[in-house]
Assembly symmetry: C2
Homo-oligomer: 446 residues x 2
Amino acid sequence: MQTPKKIAIVGSGLVGSLLAIYLKKAGHVVHIYDRSPDIRKIQFSGRSINLAMSNRGWKALDGVGVGDAVREIAIPMDKRAIHLVNSLKFQNYGQEGESIYSISRGTLNRKMIDLAEQAGAEFFFEHKVWDVTLATATLHIGETERGEWEERKYNMVFGADGAFSRIRHRMQRQSMFNYSQEFLNIGYKELNIPANVDGSHKLDKNSFHIWPRGEYMLIALPNLDGSFTCTLFMPFEGENSFDSLVDRKEVEAFFEKNFPDSIEVIPDLAEDFFKNPTSTLVTMKCFPWTYTDKVALIGDACHAIVPFYGQGMNAGFEDITVLYEMILKYGEDWEAIFSEYQKSRKPNADAIAELSYRNFMEMSSKTADDKFLMQKKIEKWFSRKHPDKWVPLYSRVTFSDRPYVEALAIGDFQNAIMEEVLKMDNIDAIWDSPEVENKILELLQC
Amino acid sequence: MQTPKKIAIVGSGLVGSLLAIYLKKAGHVVHIYDRSPDIRKIQFSGRSINLAMSNRGWKALDGVGVGDAVREIAIPMDKRAIHLVNSLKFQNYGQEGESIYSISRGTLNRKMIDLAEQAGAEFFFEHKVWDVTLATATLHIGETERGEWEERKYNMVFGADGAFSRIRHRMQRQSMFNYSQEFLNIGYKELNIPANVDGSHKLDKNSFHIWPRGEYMLIALPNLDGSFTCTLFMPFEGENSFDSLVDRKEVEAFFEKNFPDSIEVIPDLAEDFFKNPTSTLVTMKCFPWTYTDKVALIGDACHAIVPFYGQGMNAGFEDITVLYEMILKYGEDWEAIFSEYQKSRKPNADAIAELSYRNFMEMSSKTADDKFLMQKKIEKWFSRKHPDKWVPLYSRVTFSDRPYVEALAIGDFQNAIMEEVLKMDNIDAIWDSPEVENKILELLQC
């Protein structure tokens, strides 16, 4: 236990709630502010992508004893189900027993808030934090940005208020604050595959379903109630784009042509398409993440990434794991805790941002590409023979807790090796031969 | 003449003032707002770097008939004077007759405001613009950010309010707005070489003086009154840094050791060093630059760059040249004018940002490097023999008005060629031989 501090967390999302549980465990007074109403009392908006909890997420949850409570609302997915226009292929994510877990964002967030309240954190919903005085950890709260504000002073403030963080917004106005936000030209829209009348799933329940089509793709992740949350990723403008689909007929024709096996499982296609918003995707980077021992950013507030590696929440939860390691290491020295936390996490946040950006390419186009599938096949075969010598990139990111920077670096090295291997004569025939095995072993020595 | 519009320009700096003159020429009502007092009535701060006006700047000034008025306050510099620790070398910037022009920022800004007033623009100094309503081109002006604001509605608003633009700040809060700001770990400080008692210059008047020392460097640009404005560029932290020089003695010892020939010409060295602020250097990029036909950013407000190519002002002035070309082309269609303006300028702004960043390396370290000097010598020799085949990068940027993107691309191609040439056996001896000439001619065909 540390000397109790009065700590404010801005943002009651997944990272804010889990951080609250950790800080309660460390003995602090914890207040969580959110500008929105209590998510447990409202209908969740139709603009979500289901979460894929993996190793780093579970480690953070288990680290504070709430993993099992979350497992109850999670569905394991051990493979990709790749829906080509005329066929369906399956591709395991990892080795036997390795899965990622589908969880609905709304369900998880409600659960996390319950757990944080049980741990003793106090929530202030519908409290809009407009500004923070960094030097004194003072929040400025009010109904409107230009109206009256009330001040609330803390020992410490955490900004867990997401990609458009108000806390970061104040830090941005300091000199020497590096910052970037970059939007993809691709947006996304939530759609829905309802359950069968008997409550069972209409598609294989334990798969991450994906319809890769080059520039655009559809994905579907299972929910507990038998439904799937689908997400359509597509350019805003151009030939196959949100802009180009302006009425029911066009949407239905587009799906019939490009996602034929989705038609009968998405009954409210056109209705949902026009009812649900089209959302944007942004990569946000910044530095520094902390201000003396007073203010720290965490999760999306300091490293928002695109969702194509399923690591946004996992990376945010891992921030908490690392912060807690620093708390254990540096005790009462919060300046050291904050400084080492950002030093440790920044390069890893940059690495997963890069990997996530690249993975859009892989998911949307390469999963339907023969050369890519051959590469994956060779990697899996070699990895089975030499599990100590070849851990696939996806597994390093998803099923381990080694640093993302390491995964990125080794992944690049492995890709360079595979590029050489794929150039070998007649590789389609000899892909599982001793010749290929020896070639890889030799290249690994370089 | 266009249909007269009521136009507000935020920022009375160099770009704002010149833009005002152009918009008056096009027949508009022009109001210029600045949060600061009239620069003509106050002492200019000791945190400036002298300007180096070159082709693009002159073209914009001459395009509206004010070039000659500015030439009166400019001093031509036809060469670099490279101060090594024990010697002095000169290096011409271009061909015979090609110069860049040293102008003090304060002097030029005062002149530009005079010229804009003479053209009929109206200035509102000490008016703080805190926000803008983009859809209606309405400025929100007041004494403090949280106090009472007054609204002023225009047909159009230009944000010429620099790297920390308030107008851009509002645009940043839109979705799909890409933005980055990145600070160098290097800062700068103004110093001064006063005139001789007879008003003459203590160093060669027609040179850009540079003391390149690897990670840090000193430069000096001439003023009309016989003085030089010096700028010391140096890391904030580390061995040779602003942080490491904490008292008079250390500053004087540092200069004596590293810039020995500067000692006798900078009499108030230590005093100025501690009196003048240490300023930061930022590269800022964003997109889009415009909002419908209502709001446009220009100059540093949409593309702040580091000063190492001397192109910040020149690039901002070129924005105006291009905007005016679009006005001539699209007449009353301001949506097309704004759209084509940003489309034309954005890639060029990115290119000069990249070139400026790279040029720090060249100025600080490579100007003292034998290989680099050999490369420059070969380039100059070849360029003299084949002026149609080899225009040096510096000349493309500085003495032409071809797009920056083209300069960057051709510069990269030329560097690749020179890398091959410098690998030739015995290049120090054969550098001006037919063998080298033919090698370059051959590589240019690739």
